[in-house]
């Protein structure tokens, strides 16, 4: 589904990614963890080209996004994205947020798009909020709307960029529940997260990124119980001592 080969990304003189290679199969849930500034979000943002890779190849569902002739708008509809700060459209109702993509990109009629939108809102448990506006919602509700908005294009993979990091602690659970349900339904997911519990429980693979490279990549039970990499051991020690 996603193949990344020797991905490098520089911001000016700063080398954020220094050779990331990664393959994600269809239906896999991959969690990316790592200290802040390690480049984990940048990996995600390179997958749908919100950041342009400096070098290397990124192939999403057979489309090489580093090839200038690739229709990036099409690829982005195949790879939905959920942001840390939700980024809902504040001037649109919840339903309009969810239906904008289907209507303008998929060219669905309003009625069809709204039917789809209401189904998706029901799926994230927010059917009753269709007519509300984003600033009437809690953070957890906003993020669930954002997930519905990403799902509305029926993407093949969803990229989650620290989806619970901006939430009050008591609201994290409702978002993780929705994500777990998606995972069970077979959605391919790449999740940058600090939620070690979620990674342990849901991920097929956990990847530890530090200093712009993948330090460790493995199934969660091995990853958490028997970390070989000293940096990972150090990182997990710090994270666990805080939770």
């Amino acid at each position: 589904m996603i193949t990344i080969e020797n991905l490098h990304k520089n911001f000016g003189g700063l080398k954020v990614l220094r050779g990331i290679s990664l393959h994600v199969d269809k239906g896999q849930v991959v969690c990316i963890i790592g200290p802040s500034g390690s480049g984990k979000s940048t990996v995600l943002r390179c997958i749908n080209r919100l950041e342009r890779p400096t070098s290397g190849r990124v192939v999403v569902d057979g489309h090489d996004i580093t090839d200038p002739s690739t229709n990036i708008n099409l690829v982005r509809t195949e790879a939905g994205m959920v942001f840390q700060q939700f980024n809902l459209f504040p001037h649109m109702s919840v339903l309009e947020n969810v239906t904008l993509g289907p209507r303008k990109v998929r060219r669905l009629e309003r009625g069809q798009a709204e039917k789809l939108g209401l189904e998706l809102l029901a799926k994230v448990g927010l059917a009753d909020k269709a007519a509300s506006y984003p600033d009437q919602l809690s953070g957890g509700q906003k993020q669930r709307v954002a997930i519905a908005r990403a799902l509305a294009l029926q993407p093949k993979v969803i990229l989650f960029d620290e989806p619970t990091s901006a939430l009050d602690p008591e609201l994290v659970g409702e978002v993780l529940e929705v994500m777990k349900r998606l995972a069970r339904e077979g959605m391919t997911m790449v999740v940058v997260t600090h939620e070690m519990g979620f990674a342990k429980e849901v991920a097929d693979r956990v990847i530890f990124v530090d200093q712009g490279v993948i330090q460790e990549d493995g199934p969660p039970h091995e990853f958490f119980s028997n970390p070989r990499n000293p940096r990972l051991r150090d990182f997990l020690g710090k994270v666990v001592s805080h939770t």
């Binding site: 749908n48 919100l50 708008n73 099409l74 982005r76 509809t77 939905g80 994205m81 942001f83 700060q85 980024n87 809902l88 459209f89 504040p90 001037h91 904008l100 993509g101 303008k104 990109v105 506006y133 600033d135 009437q136 908005r149 990403a150 509305a152 294009l153």
Partner: protein, 223 residues
């Protein structure tokens, strides 16, 4: 000759000023209409990826903001016809001057408002597959437009007052009409006082209307 203030002159002057007032209103509204189109275009060009478009819009804004409107008006009305060999009707000249002049300021208003929108909004739009243009149209512009309303209202008031400069090129607007009345009755004090009060009434009415619009928008945003 002792000066004696005659309020009756003001009352007599007022109806005579109405013709000029009509021109002032027409030039302001027409000028700002085209000024907004010009300004939105130039403002978006300043934000575009194209180097040439950015430079062109930048040069326009710098040139207009860096020269007095009085000079721009005289150049267009007296200068340009000499080069082209055709006369421009005063009303057209007035609208063009206000449009070109306000357009430069509106370009900066538009640019600032668009840039004030969080980059995450743009990324969210792109992430659901919208093109750059669609993201601008459906996501960025509606939010930016609300932020433009207060500074656009300010520009409205400035442009309305600026139309008085068109008196020097013989456009029969409010101030010019006042000058013509003074030429006949020599009551400069009463006539120009009346002219000033008419401008003040208009700008106060606009400011009041704007405050109401802003209040309604604020209520809708808080919703």
């Amino acid at each position: 000759m002792a000066f004696n203030f005659d309020p009756g002159v003001m009352l007599d002057t007022l109806p005579m000023l109405m013709r000029g007032l009509k021109w002032t209103a027409l030039i302001t509204v027409g000028g700002l209409f085209f000024g907004f189109i010009l300004g939105a275009g130039a403002g978006l060009m300043k934000l575009s990826r194209g180097w040439a478009a950015r430079k062109f819009a930048g040069a326009y804004v710098e040139t207009i903001r860096g020269t007095p409107m009085l000079v721009q008006a005289m150049f267009l009305y007296f200068g340009v016809p000499m080069a082209l060999g055709l006369r421009i009707p005063p009303l057209v000249a007035g609208i063009v001057v206000i449009a070109v002049n306000s357009g430069a300021y509106i370009a900066e208003i538009v640019r600032g408002a668009v840039q004030s929108i969080n980059i995450g909004q743009f990324e969210a739009g792109r992430s659901i597959g919208l093109t750059r243009a669609q993201t601008m149209r459906y996501v960025i512009w509606p939010q930016a437009f609300r932020r433009m309303i207060p500074p656009l209202g300010n520009q409205f008031i400035i442009s309305l007052k600026d139309t008085s400069l068109l008196a020097v090129i013989g456009v029969g607007e409010l101030l010019r009409t006042g000058q013509e009345i003074v030429a006949v009755n020599f009551r400069a004090f009463e006539v120009y006082l009346t002219v000033g009060l008419v401008y003040l009434c208009m700008t106060m009415a606009i400011a009041h209307a704007l405050r109401r619009v802003e209040k309604r928008l604020a209520a809708r945003v808080r919703r």
